[in-house]
Symmetry: C2
Subunit: 291 residues, 2 copies
Amino acid sequence: MFYIVGLGLCDEKDITVRGLEAVKGSSRVYLEAYTSILMVQKERLEVFYGKELILADRDMVETESDDILRNANTEDVAFLVVGDPYGATTHTDIVLRARALNIPTRIIHNASIMNAVGACGLQLYNFGQTVSLVFFTETWKPGSFYDRIKENADLGMHTLVLLDIKVKEQSEENLARGRKIYEPPRYMSIPQAISQLTEIESLRQTGILSPESTLAIALSRVGGGLDERIVAGTLAELLAQPPEVYGDPLHSLVVVGKRLHHLEVEYAEQFAVNRKTWRDVARRMYGCALE
Amino acid sequence: MFYIVGLGLCDEKDITVRGLEAVKGSSRVYLEAYTSILMVQKERLEVFYGKELILADRDMVETESDDILRNANTEDVAFLVVGDPYGATTHTDIVLRARALNIPTRIIHNASIMNAVGACGLQLYNFGQTVSLVFFTETWKPGSFYDRIKENADLGMHTLVLLDIKVKEQSEENLARGRKIYEPPRYMSIPQAISQLTEIESLRQTGILSPESTLAIALSRVGGGLDERIVAGTLAELLAQPPEVYGDPLHSLVVVGKRLHHLEVEYAEQFAVNRKTWRDVARRMYGCALE
């Protein structure tokens, strides 16, 4: 059996009991190491599982999937991913490959940012499509994410914006020369994300994002752990916070849609930079009936 | 500490290791018994946890929340919910009440249908807002769900449709007379959901739902367990399947949006009632570039 096991969001104890059984019973255990990051180190997972983990980077999953799947029809092999197995396309690739090889596969689900974002107090059914925001460069500032936020905003929906991470990236020079030398990992921060959002807004000027009158909620290390941070405010307020307010990566950002319900406002108020502004903007700009 | 623990989707082993620790360390453990159902009985959970569970129905959570929270600032109390704690509004109510009482609260996340729906092969970021479909009665056929599906469809987004369940409902007569006598539980089936969708379509005639040219994917007991069923086809094909194809509840339905990607078609093809129709409709009606 080939198991794809979601690890959840926080640390080694977020694995499910079923997932832990699969890990303990597997002859080889891979840890997917590029679409996301867990908040703990590989070594800590190994101690907890009592198993050695084989790090599987993008190269390996794309070019050596048959090696990962080797003998999985006669023994158990586990492939661990942060969050839920269906968070990234690449996991469906390896499932399709397993199927082509007639290897039975079982998915073990877990929490991912796609549902744990509910921790911010906004209702999941009020979210539209999820958007990824990539690092801008001097010459490449793709604005398609903005079109998607606008589509959601036009319907009054909230948007979950997933912030880019760069893990095991090569510089252009190293890539061109075929040198497997990698840049240090980079994680987009909340202020950087807001800067990019407002940069595109100032080009497009459709008015969906306004520093003073658009509400947003920043989430860091969401998952119920002790270093979870949730911070709510206007875009301007969130931009002005010092970096330590958001703690360590990963960070995500929710752009609040106009269908905002007063119960959502009241629940999220606990996370507000400034409760008065939060309620005031919700009332004036979002039309929420608050006392 | 007041723990709200997500149980995941399938059975007793879908709890996380952290969640299990919280349950074992709690002096009282409540099982929320109305917004969803787990696929196993309370007794099986009790044996697995080594704890007695107190069933908490809607009445109890709404009117006796202080009793549930009693002493939770000096001892640990756990409140178990199927899926993830942020799936239903009512869980935020009890968190707010705990906060008002100065009781520390911790959320333990898990998979829910909102992210496990990825198992059908459609990408989560291509989903728009989620929709709930309630049982129609002779006199009450609310069509607001249709407007939401249309909003998603106009953007090309997929829609996850959550099908109604009626647990511990009272008949009008029993309600009027204040008799706490409850109807047997009812769960909406896939064919019933499709009938309701097409009923509203025939009234509105906007053309977003067509028996022969709208693709959909039915999910039953999604969660990676042995009785998980995923069935893909046109609305007409899914309507025509005998009930046993879908297995036991809970059922959910995904209405496929026009931004469908050919990799999504190829992944979901394994679930198709008829692979030829599936590919054919994807090619002709959704414009997917398939071989």
